[in-house]
Symmetry: C2
Amino acid sequence: MSANRLDDLRKEVDQVNLRLLDLINRRGELIKQIGDIKTEQGINVFDPIREREMLDLILKNHEGPFEYSTIEHLFKEIFKAAKELIEEDQLNALLV
Amino acid sequence: MSANRLDDLRKEVDQVNLRLLDLINRRGELIKQIGDIKTEQGINVFDPIREREMLDLILKNHEGPFEYSTIEHLFKEIFKAAKELIEEDQLNALLV
């Protein structure tokens, strides 16, 4: 009985993982598009105020079970990955 | 024109952030349930083989724009957060 329940829960975790993967990549595509527009307009691509606003909105909507500090840490890692993606993009543009 | 486009993209990023938040917390709830079943059955809660299997499935489904190493890093952080959640749960159970 609980072996099946364990299997079901694991399948659900796998589905959640793949949806997280999709969203992380979707987020990367959006951030790249934002970076392109900002570069075209000569605006600084990295905006710490916007990053703080995003985090505030996330934390305002957070209800657990994770600690607020854990959610903040995870999203900072996700933001950092997106920054690296844009930097890589800009480097490639310079090398062309 | 691009100011509106920038606003639209930012709104979409905010929506993606909140969906990520939901899924990360949903994942936490599932992992807690799995931890409870394993504790009941006296099975070791942490299973590095299962963790590797989850990562392999994620990486098999990954298509970019992020590097595979970035995706692996982000998911390892998500897994670590879930581990800490279970450890906290177990500590609280011991203290009751």
